[in-house]
């Protein structure tokens, strides 16, 4: 319990620090929103008037407190360029990005976990080497390229087996779930393959360390075969570590799929953020960055707590050290 409280305090402190960093980073930009909105040829008075209107010429501390106060009330501001509220912008983008990364993660798990186990269980050195090569190559492929190759293979119009849509998301969104899901298959595959390779490496190293440990010897001396011991005892022991990795992978995929969203013309979170940065849409970028950072920190918090629950050894180690102290 003390652990959770301490972790929560750190979370809040980090969140506060991040908000300051994000705010400060965006205020030192040379070209500000007002002059961009006013247009290239507009007279400077117009930009000044806009600046006044948006409150951009107030002291920075006031601006920051204003923003923070609104955030605490759940108001993330309004995108200056589109006039939509950041909340609705992010919500509509998230409705594409989250299904995409969940699908991608499922594909990655379906690839990574079995291959990682197989790499540990393989008896012949040659097969193990082949798995090793596979993992290394999988981790070296640029996301853009895996997407391009999949388009070449399966994309409608360009592909050898042109069966899947490779551009855009249906306008009516999830009201036609079949078409929406179909549009996500290729992007999710391109991400899933790459993330799968990294999950495979983690699984292999976590299981591989355990396979040489006393736990497995013990299980085998109780009559399990090596395969049984690794899959039953080893996987359970590796679970806390793997859950941590999978959680953090999930978080990093939000920005990791940026390139893929762009390639497949999906209006997701990453793609939207890049557009807003390009437009210097200050308010939107600021709140979006904050939300993303909060999400990363939040996932980190959940992962740490989960890790503790799944691995009771940490807790007992803690009590021992507390008693000792």
């Amino acid at each position: 319990m003390r652990f959770v409280v301490r972790r929560l305090l750190l979370f809040v402190a980090a969140l506060f620090g991040l908000s300051v960093v994000v705010f400060a980073a965006l205020r030192i930009l040379p070209g500000d929103v007002a002059s961009i909105m006013a247009g290239v040829n507009a007279p400077p008075e117009k930009a000044a008037q806009l600046r006044e209107q948006l409150g951009l010429n107030r002291p920075l501390v006031i601006q920051y407190l204003d923003w923070m106060g609104a955030l605490l009330h759940g108001d993330f501001g309004t995108s200056i360029l589109t006039g939509r509220s950041v909340t609705s912008l992010v919500a509509s983008r998230a409705s594409i990005t989250f299904p995409l990364i969940i699908l991608g993660l499922l594909i990655a798990l379906a690839i990574g976990l079995p291959l990682g186990c197989a790499a540990v269980l393989a008896r012949s050195a040659r097969v193990r080497a082949a798995f090793h090569v596979l993992a290394i190559i999988g981790g070296a492929v640029p996301a853009l390229w895996s997407g391009l190759l999949l388009i070449l293979l399966f994309g409608k119009g360009t592909g050898l087996v042109g069966i899947l849509p490779s551009q855009g998301f249906p306008m009516d969104g999830w009201t036609t779930p079949g078409r929406a899901l179909l549009a996500l298959i290729l992007p999710a595959l391109s991400v899933g393959i790459i993330v799968g390779a990294s999950l495979m490496r983690y699984t292999r190293s976590a299981l591989g360390d355990l396979a040489d440990s006393g736990y497995i010897d013990m299980a085998r001396s109780c009559g399990m075969t090596r395969t049984q011991a690794v899959l039953r005892v080893g996987l359970r022991l590796a679970t806390p570590q793997l859950v941590s990795v999978i959680g953090l992978t999930f978080a990093s995929m939000i920005t990791g799929v940026m390139v893929i969203e762009n390639l497949f013309a999906l209006p997701g979170i990453g793609n939207g953020l890049v557009t807003d940065v390009g437009n210097r849409d200050l308010i939107a970028v600021q709140s979006e960055l904050f939300l993303l950072a909060a999400f990363f920190l939040g996932v980190g918090l959940v992962v740490d707590v989960l890790h503790r629950i799944l691995d009771p050894r940490l807790k007992s180690a803690d009590t021992v050290s507390e008693v000792a102290a």
Partner: protein, 348 residues
């Protein structure tokens, strides 16, 4: 390559001790290079990296077509004798741009690795500092910052800077430096609290001297792996960021630029898509594997030839003697320390 190195670098047996010490770095370098070359995957990485360097240098003086020749009549052309991989939307030669891209990527990788090494080592020094407040704060700060993805840092930087090489280098160098610090901390801490550092301090060694002659040698294997990984990841990051328009500015050749161009060429001549991605993949594989072979080669415990050289020069040098003999101990216990540290990390 290794033959010339051998001729130049290995001093004869009859040379004076002073001479040997003067040649020490070069000699160790040649030993490391030779032990990498001896392994199959080491040969592969050295060849790929040497080719990369060669192409980058050649592209400075020669490319099949000038980068800036644009030919309005041959826009989106298919591969031909004069344009080996076709032309892009402005009629520029795709192959020449791909070739010239290697120098930009080389520059980015060198700068990123240098920045992450300096920043990472500074953090390591702070984390193992003897002032508890400094050490404690830096550990917490690294833990907090490490969860921010590189792309986000790049996006924040891109707001004021626009698309530029600096965005890639600073964002990647910053992020990878944090990783480096976190991974290297256990081994560095072990060295910093060791008896030989204690005795060096008692003899009046400064903090910087302890860092350079005791801590860095102990974390050299970790450094080798982490920096090579950073190099590979920087190449991948370049391609992604440049494609998104916040990396290498348009008009500057880079592999990310070539990949982005190949996206547009997919409807013209699909096979063009293969090349830039293939080059990036091969180079990143080579860099990642290079980390592993380099780790084994720079580790006196794993590399007998180097151990011998270190022991010889340690006999000649003064108080460095404690270091190589302590290295095996430090390495072995370093593993359990890492495992313990995972527990601690989760606790925070």
């Amino acid at each position: 390559m290794s033959n010339t190195m051998r001729k130049v670098c290995s001093p004869g047996a009859g040379e004076t001790a002073a001479h040997t010490v003067a040649h020490k770095p070069l000699r160790r370098f040649s030993i490391v290079l030779r032990s990498i070359w001896r392994r199959g995957e080491g040969k592969f990485t050295l060849i790929v990296l040497a080719l990369w360097l060669a192409v980058a240098l050649v592209s400075l003086v020669w490319t099949p077509q000038s980068l800036w020749t644009t030919d309005g009549y041959h826009v989106w052309a298919k591969p031909s004798a004069s344009h080996w991989l076709g032309t892009d939307g402005t009629g520029a030669d795709v192959f020449s741009w791909l070739m010239a891209g290697s120098r930009t990527n080389l520059l980015i990788v060198v700068l990123t690795v240098a920045l992450s090494a300096v920043w990472g080592l500074a953090l390591v020094a702070a984390m193992v500092a003897r002032t508890p407040a400094l050490a404690g704060t830096s550990v917490v700060v690294v833990d907090a910052l490490i969860s921010i993805p590189t792309v986000l840092i790049a996006l924040i930087l891109a707001v004021p800077l626009g698309a530029s090489i600096a965005v890639i280098v600073v964002a990647c160098g910053f992020g990878y430096g944090l990783n480096l610090a976190r991974v290297a901390r256990p081994a560095a801490l072990l060295a910093a609290r060791s008896a030989y550092v204690e005795s060096a301090r008692a003899n009046g060694a400064s903090g910087r001297r302890v860092l350079v002659s005791h801590i860095i040698p102990n974390i050299l294997p970790v450094l080798a792996v982490q920096l090579s990984l950073s190099a590979g990841t920087a190449v991948l990051a370049e391609s992604g960021l440049t494609y998104l328009g916040i990396g290498v500015p348009s008009g500057v050749p880079s592999w990310g630029h070539s990949l982005a161009t190949s996206v547009k060429l997919i409807n013209v001549f699909p096979l063009t898509v293969l090349w830039p991605g293939l080059i990036v993949t091969v180079v990143v594989v080579a860099l990642n594997v290079f980390g592993d072979v380099l780790r084994d080669a720079v580790d006196p415990v794993a590399n007998p030839a180097l151990r011998q050289a270190v022991a010889q020069s340690a006999g000649a040098a003064d108080n460095a003697t404690t270091n190589p003999s302590a290295a095996p101990v430090a390495r072995n216990t370093g593993v359990s320390e890492i495992a313990e540290d995972d527990g601690e990390g989760a606790e925070r």
